[in-house]
């Protein structure tokens, strides 16, 4: 198998158009090595391909077999009659929008959720999987969508949790450390066994999660959106590890939103929509556009068509800005940048190079050390979020759960969070529910927020729809400056397309847009101008038209 590359998402475009071939349609690695690695018996290798089950695209014995799995939460049908199978040594991708039921499906394999009906059989064992302990005993390992690590414990303690080695009644931490070191060498996932998990960056925490799963005997590894928080480099590293694991016989169920990753690493793809399997296809027989179409149920435009920008006056001017991070270290370190009306400036950079602190400073959420920020004639350097908002800054925050919405409030209230005390939503200090409601109904329509009504709590929405609430609120007051931080992180393809279109529309309406994203593809396709940051300062600025992916990658890595 070739190394996963960070090539364009259409890498499968020139492949033959045989969509939906009955499974198992194929596997492009039938090398002797691979087959040997996944063979369960030597005898199987001697047989002709039709009988051995190898070659002809068939990878190995069926390891996981799901039949008619159904699960409802109240009136929500999270999974409807799902059937799928995974063979030994195979990487199967589960693709679907937010809320399609992917996590529910895999949580049932791991014993976290009990199915209403249907069977999950692992290696032919059809008995109900009672709890995670049971699943682990049957060789299932899982990396969860939300990290399942104890923050105050060390890496070694986290890895040994649940299967501790004990000597003389006491924990044998030395052997746990050794186990972590061995595993991390074997899979080339560098971690320090004695580091406390909460001190580690998310990318490293993800490695710990994987090592934790691999520290037990796993035949089936489930990865629920493992790349959502990773940088492109870390993602490629992870895809490499997955490929190696599959080559040595581990089966993998891989959930992601990113079509590039599916195409780079999986053998087969199941597409879920509204709790149902709507398609199953061998990866080599499909491409990004068709996968996206299956996911959403309609054509999606993957590239954004936008006209050339017609920039106006300078709206935002940042001069020699210095901002510290939570630990008091310099995060933004002498950054200067301008954004004009009617243009999108994309800030590209590996996460942790001051982007978060820059945005928080601009939003008035973080104190500026030194330097200046000006919005037209207004000095924003010491403004608080209230003044920043009323100065005309719209802010789509990176962490929408924490800074974007109040989960226990209704959608309607969330849509007026920054205007609730202004007319027409409030008169003489009394809230005007009719106006609030009318506003919510209008925005729900306009921004396609899928919910049972505007009084539903925002916390119960899917990620993509939560994000649409934030976007609707921050765009509806027609900001002069729109700051969008990771606007499509963890959001499904349909919503991504929608949010991108709205950002471009805001630009066309004359807003200055500052886009911060860890997704280089997003930066490249949306921006008019690109500023590459490294070490808290802008190291290069270029027109998006002249931008070159590898060049930016090099600059992001600090090579300038």
């Amino acid at each position: 198998m070739s190394e996963p590359t960070s090539g364009p998402t259409s890498s499968g475009a020139e492949r033959p158009e045989t969509e939906g071939t009955p499974h198992p349609a194929g596997h492009d690695d039938t090398s002797r090595e691979h087959l040997e690695a996944i063979a369960t018996t030597d005898a199987a290798l001697e047989l002709p391909p039709e009988q051995s089950g190898f070659g002809e695209g068939v990878v190995g014995e069926v390891l996981l077999d799901i039949r008619g799995l159904t699960k409802s939460f109240g009136s929500v049908h999270a999974n409807r009659d799902i059937s799928l199978d995974v063979r030994r040594g195979e990487i199967v991708a589960l693709l679907g929008e937010n809320g399609a039921g992917k996590s529910t499906l895999v949580n049932q394999i791991f014993g976290l959720i009990t199915p209403d009906s249907g069977t999950v059989s692992i290696k032919g064992d059809e008995r109900r999987i009672k709890d995670p302990r049971d699943a682990i005993a049957r060789g299932v390992g899982m990396v969860h969508q939300h990290f399942q690590l104890v923050p105050v414990m060390t890496v070694a303690e986290n890895v040994m949790l649940g299967h501790e080695s004990v000597r003389g009644g006491l924990l044998d931490l030395d052997s746990a450390r050794r186990m972590v070191r061995e595993l991390s060498e074997k899979h080339r996932l560098a971690v320090d066994p004695d580091a406390e998990v909460e001190d580690l960056p998310v990318g490293t925490q993800q490695r710990v999660e994987i090592l934790k799963a691999l520290s037990r005997r796993v035949d089936l590894l489930i990865l629920d959106e493992p790349t959502a928080v990773l940088t492109p480099q870390e993602t490629d590293e992870l895809l490499g590890v997955m490929r190696e694991l599959a080559n040595s016989g581990t089966s993998i169920v891989f959930i992601t939103h990113k079509l590039r990753e599916v195409l780079a690493v999986s053998d087969r793809v199941y597409v879920l929509r509204q709790g149902e399997v709507v398609g199953e296809v061998a990866t080599k027989d499909t491409d990004a556009t068709r996968l996206a179409t299956m996911m959403v149920g309609r054509e999606v435009v993957l590239s954004i068509d936008k006209t050339a920008a017609t920039p106006g006056d300078t709206v935002l001017e940042i001069e020699d800005l210095h901002v510290s991070d939570d630990r008091g270290l310099a995060a933004v370190d002498g950054l200067s940048l301008t954004v004009r009306a009617g243009e999108i400036v994309g800030v590209a950079g590996v996460e942790g190079n001051g982007q978060r602190e820059l945005v928080e400073a601009l939003a008035g959420m973080r104190k500026v050390g030194s330097g200046r920020m000006r919005l037209k004639d207004l000095d924003l350097t010491t403004a608080d979020p209230y003044r920043t908002h009323h100065a005309g800054v719209g802010h789509i925050p990176e962490d929408r759960e924490k800074h974007g919405i109040v989960g226990t409030y209704s959608i309607a209230d969330n849509l007026v969070l920054n205007e609730f005390d202004q007319a027409p939503y409030s008169k003489s200090g009394v809230r005007q529910f009719d106006a609030i409601r009318a506003n919510a109904e209008r925005l729900r329509e306009e921004f396609d927020i899928r919910s049972s009504g505007v009084m539903q709590t925002a916390g119960s929405l899917s990620g993509g729809n939560k994000q649409k609430v934030v976007v609707a609120r921050e765009m509806s007051f027609e900001p002069t400056l729109l700051m969008a931080a990771q606007p499509t992180r963890g959001v499904d393809v349909g919503s991504i397309e929608f949010i991108h279109r709205r950002i471009v529309e805001a630009r066309d309406a004359g807003a200055a847009v500052l886009l911060v994203s860890a997704e280089l593809d997003e930066i490249l396709s949306l921006s008019d101008r690109i500023a590459v940051v490294h070490g808290g300062a802008v190291v290069a600025e270029m027109d998006a038209a002249d931008a070159d992916r590898t060049e930016i990658g090099r600059l992001m890595a600090g090579d300038h």
């Binding site: 709890d131 995670p132 302990r133 105050v152 649940g162 299967h163 501790e164 006491l170």
Partner: protein, 332 residues
């Protein structure tokens, strides 16, 4: 070892200073110091046991506001069972047993039925006050005393031997052992690793194959027996009589000690000693009356100290991550 010393430098320095000061005081003022130390340890014993109850509960993710009630019930049950049966052993067992039952009550209501932990604890305290006041009958006496022991070897250490290991009641010695055991258990054993995981981040424990509810129920229930022993100590050892509300807020003080001890058994032990010492100082001041301070004011000294230390500690210490939250599985 070196990293351990580096990490705990401040604590070690403070500990060294305190120990040196204690010895200096002991020999410089040997008219009052020895008796003050003994009475300090006497105050501290139930606080040590009760703070361990808090530590075990909160380390597993369950707040125990009901320690006060657990102690009170046990003090009551221990005293009256001993008085009526004529057997000290039966009394101790009844006290510890009733502590267990009270622990089980808290465990099942909060962990299994997910009742609010604060409310469950308050209920426990109210019920305890009610029952023990209602059935209280004056004029009973204990059939004997809790045996006193001297530990050979350890008792010959200057100061420490005199205060902790010479002619000490079995319960006092047990409190020392319990603090050590819980400490080692919490930080060095499988049970401890799992307990801490369950109290910090229960879903991580669950996905690692650990039964969160079961472990919490076991821990909270068993911790109840330590609260029981603390109650037994009050009515059968320290005072040889039961009085209404005789726990006098010790259960709550124990929670403060737990916080100042940063949810670590040995630090909680030290903080209990500190409070014992403050109390001893307060009563010494009352006796000697050397200062022109009214006794009502000196009596508040331990509580003022609590306030000051808690105010200083607040914001510097961190409770276990999942404390107070019932663990709800994904599809429930």
């Amino acid at each position: 070892m070196q990293t351990w010393i580096a990490k705990n430098r401040t604590t070690l320095v403070i500990a060294a200073v305190v120990v040196v000061a204690a010895y200096v005081f002991y020999y410089a003022k040997n008219d009052i110091a020895p008796s003050m130390y003994v009475s300090a340890w006497g105050y501290a014993i139930p606080l040590v046991l009760a703070s361990l109850v808090g530590v075990i509960g909160e380390r597993s993710g369950v707040v125990n506001i009901g320690i006060e009630g657990q102690m009170l019930i046990a003090a009551f049950a221990g005293f009256f069972v001993a008085a009526y049966s004529g057997s000290m052993l039966a009394g101790v067992l009844a006290g510890v047993g009733s502590g267990l039952v009270a622990g089980a009550f808290l465990a099942w209501t909060t962990v299994r039925w997910r009742m609010d932990q604060i409310i469950a604890g308050v209920v426990l305290n109210i019920v305890a006050t009610g029952i023990t006041s209602f059935y209280y009958t004056p004029g009973q006496i204990l059939p004997g005393v809790i045996p006193n022991l001297t530990v050979p070897g350890l008792s010959s250490i200057p100061l420490i031997g005199d205060v902790f290991f010479t002619g000490e009641s079995a319960i006092a010695l047990f409190a020392i052992v319990a603090a050590l055991l819980v400490h080692v258990g919490l930080f060095r054993t499988r049970w401890g690793l799992r307990t801490r995981a369950v109290g910090e981040y229960p879903s991580a424990a669950d996905t690692a194959g650990i039964d969160v509810e079961r472990l919490r129920i076991i821990n909270v229930t068993l911790a109840g027996s330590l609260a029981g022993l603390a109650g037994v100590y009050l009515s059968m050892d320290a005072s040889s009589t039961f009085e209404r509300s005789m726990t006098a807020g010790r259960g709550f003080l124990a929670l403060a000690i737990m916080i100042m001890g940063m949810w670590r058994p040995l630090r909680a032990f030290s903080m209990a000693l500190f409070f014992g010492f403050i109390s001893a100082v307060a009563s010494q001041l009352q006796q000697t009356g050397g200062f022109a301070v009214p006794p009502q004011l000196t009596g508040t000294l331990p509580y003022v100290a609590t306030l000051v230390v808690l105010a200083v500690a607040a914001g510097r210490v961190r409770a276990p991550g999942a404390v107070g939250q019932p663990y709800v599985k994904k599809d429930q």
